[in-house]
Amino acid sequence: MNRWRLGLRFMWRDWRSGETRLLAAALALTVAAVTAVGFFTDRVSQAIHRQGNELIAADLVVESSQPPAAELRHKASELGLRSADTLEFPSVVLTAEAPQLVEVKAVSEAYPLRGELRVRASPSTEETPLALGPQTREVWVEPRLLLLLGAAVGDKLRLGEAELSIGQALSYEPDRGGGLFQLAPRVLLPIAALAETGLITPASRVRYRLLLAGDATAVERYRDWLQPRLSPGVRLIDPQEARPEFGAAIDRASRFLSLATLVTLLVAGAAIALASRRLVERQTDAVAIMRCLGAPRRLLQQVFLLRLLLFSLIAGLAGCLLGFLAQFGLASLVGHWFAERLPPPSAKPLVVGLGVGLITLLGFAAPPLLHLARVPPLRALRRDLGAPPASEWVAVLIASTALLGLIYWQAGDRELAVTLMLGVAATLGLLGLLGYLLVLGAAWLQPHTSGVARLGLATLARRRGGTLLQILGFGVGILALLLLAIVRVDLLRTWQQSLPADAPNRFLVNIQPDQIQPLRDFLAEQGIAGAEILPMIRGRLVRVNEQEVRPEDYADPRAERLAAREFNLSWATLLQNDNRILAGEWWGERPAPTPAFSVEKGLAETLGIRLGDRLTFSVVGTEISAPITSLRTVQWDSFNVNFFVVGTPGLLAGLPATSITSLYLPPSRDAVTAKLIREFPNLTLLDVDAIMRQVRTLVDRGVLAVEYVFLFTVLAGVLVMVAGIHTHFEERMASIGTLRTLGARRNRLLVAVAVEFTALGLLSGLLASLFAEATGEVLARQLFGLAFELNPLLWVAGVLGSAVAVGLSGTLAVYPLLSRPPLRALSRG
């Protein structure tokens, strides 16, 4: 009880005297940054989930080849979920010239449960959003079918045995996704009108979908209930995989946010380390006196620990509150990403925030403070005595471990954490080494100098650990700020530019070999710059090495689906611009390269295949086999045509292939679409404009959000500067007092101080720039899949900027001491 009371009292006194304010600010800021991003990502991940839901027109979809069992419906209504049904199957309608394959979709009245449909009165008029599908006996058809049929809204369409009138031109349905490149035009009709078409027979290949939506917990409960009951041929559809373009952009936004938080954590960690150091300095005398007065070491340690715990709890709570308020700003910035309002935050980030506060403080402040209890009581009589040495390294080690552990915990992304940790560890190591050499150099130089320089060098050399800590603190702070600059200026810009205004917004699929040249000519004639026309072959993966590929052998549902479906394969001579080789080598422009495959990294990971494995695909009965000679990353959100598996040109040539291309069509050139379809009626034209608009907004908002989070980093950076400059302040004050008493001129002392801080800033800035470039390069290439170029401006800013910033702020901070009467400085007033 006494210890608690003492801890509380001491903490209150520390706070009142201003001793711990810097530490409190650093701690609260760290916690605030972590909680703000935590709260925000918590809300966003819930909202992203809902956004994803729009892409399946529901919160959860059960797909099967048979009508869904009655118990599935019962359970849904028991849990209060809304439901809708869809049936999809291929069919044929007759045009004037030839039969046209169509994708028929029959929907119940409540369809869609999430998202909206968009229709046009004719292919060339404006879109109108509609909340529900066809409610009366009619069909809605895709505009290109109207073009193919030469029909218009209001005309009749024969579907099976029924003749139905065309009610709308359907330009958008939320859950169209899926097999993006194999789409026949859509015909949408109400389930009620299906029977009279007579198209559904026991032998029909129908895809039944039960759409469910409702309260998130109820959906979760339904999922938990159904998962173990899934029979073969029945699957749950995850909204996340509905549109990989969104997945990639959201993934990248989360990585940026996570990086922003980690960097803030890093800088604030440095501020906490420096502020703790100052606290320790100021507590040394107090400990000595308390030891004199009979306080056992154990009691002091317990009281210190209690003070820290209470302090971290209070500063942590303040940080949580700040973080909670800050996330509202963040949410209002990016809330527009989402059609619906952001859901309220959960309490989890609070726990994480407090945990981060506690670990940071205990990691940085506890070791030196606990070690402080070893200060001999004799220090009360002899001020030159301190705690036994060798504590600095242990403190730095424990603090670094705590920080690295925190980064790892908070990253939620192993690669990002490891890259950042390696960057930080290398910087710390080299900064430490150079700092140590600097201190040794100072000790060696000291006897050869005189006056102020000698005194400065003597202080540097004597407080070896402290000087090192100061260099490390400044270095980490500057590294983080430079990383911020890299991300802010280079990476975010690259990201935005990766989706330029003229990124492809139409895909042309099913181009026959004899149509390639006419299509090129047509596009040239229309003045439309088309991208490369790439060959595409459908093939099923049948063997990896000698092992047969069976979907049921894969535990991961995605792997299972990939193993079951046909892949789109292609061949190429040149590597696409938005692809990067991660392992192995691209075959390049060699005349006849050895047959080989290049595989997208994510696919390889999912299927557990490695560089050097031999893949065998079955393409219309012919087996194609070759080893994997390279693994690639693909920037899926670039909207370029891309393939999971690409082969050498010779390997796939001669097999039946169609081609695919993408092109950018400005809104004013919509008429070209109709012309194109008329000239090449067999082509499938996909309009991805709407998705692209959404992805682009997401990227822009994501950039804003990341910048907002980085505000915390800047604040933390300022704190590091303040904390670093205030290290050894007591000692500095006393030595300035002495020197002034001895007649040293103020200007001379000022120059000495300016030189000291500028040198510190220069050294830290140089090393930090070096490591910022290296870390930036790794981050950009490995993690964000973006190009990165060395930025000379960064070096100027890093080296000169930090020299000026540290030099100037240090000198300005010390200036008041120089203006004080020496006696005040000497009496520590």
Partner: protein
């Protein structure tokens, strides 16, 4: 704890202290004996650097001797660890330092409270206020050390030393940082409080005048201790 031997609060025999520096080993104290009885005031005189403060630190158990034995309040310090020695000092030993050694972040009252709180002594607040009243600083209770004059700071330090009711007080040049007039006033206060409390006093000083007010005077010279006339 054993019972204190009658009358002896501080006792050292064959005491020696060496320190190792860049120039080799230096002997500061050599084979000295000292005994301080309950209620007795002993002054230790010596020039600067003669080892007075080192001796004081050793007697109070703040440091370990190189040779010899020390007993504090009847306990042989050699057998005790750091924490046991601290526990022995708690509430029994008071200190007054040349540089006052008040904690700058605590008010006058809180500085006086400190040993009482650390010793978990009942009625600490009341005792601290009384102690502060005895040194005439009731109205300065909420002031911080930097808001007090040197003399006032030393009075707070004296109040802190006497507040727990110590049996022995160690004072290291208590007037060293004060002008003569204030110094005299402080010594008068120190001696009065000591007399009233019945505590023993070990006073380290280089001021012979000041030493005269003690019962016994010892001179430390070349590491040895001798009775002064």
């Amino acid at each position: 704890m054993t019972d204190d031997p009658p009358n002896l609060l501080s006792e050292a025999s064959g005491l020696g202290k060496d320190v190792t520096g860049p120039g080799g080993t230096l002997t500061i104290l050599r084979d000295l004996d000292i005994r301080v009885a309950a209620g007795e005031a002993v002054a230790i005189l010596g020039t600067s650097g003669s080892g007075k403060s080192t001796l004081l630190g050793l007697l109070a158990g703040l440091d370990n001797p190189t040779r010899g034995e020390i007993r504090l309040c009847g306990e042989p310090l050699g057998r005790l660890g750091e924490d046991e020695r601290a526990a022995l000092r708690a509430g029994r030993v008071g200190f007054v330092f040349q540089s006052f050694q008040l904690l700058p972040t605590l008010t006058a009252l809180e500085n006086v409270l400190l040993p009482l709180e650390l010793g978990d002594i009942h009625g600490a607040g009341k005792r601290a206020r009384e102690a502060l009243a005895r040194v005439g600083l009731t109205d300065r209770a909420r002031h911080y050390p930097h808001q007090l004059s040197g003399g006032e700071q030393q009075r707070v330090a004296i109040a802190r030393a006497f507040a727990p009711g110590p049996r022995i007080l160690f004072a290291d040049e208590p007037t060293g940082n004060l002008d003569q007039h204030t110094g005299e006033h402080i010594i008068e206060l120190l001696l009065t409080l000591r007399r009233d409390s019945g505590a023993a006093l070990v006073l380290v000083t280089h001021d012979r005048e000041l030493a005269r007010s003690c019962d016994r005077r010892l001179v430390l010279e070349a590491g040895r201790l001798e009775e002064a006339p």
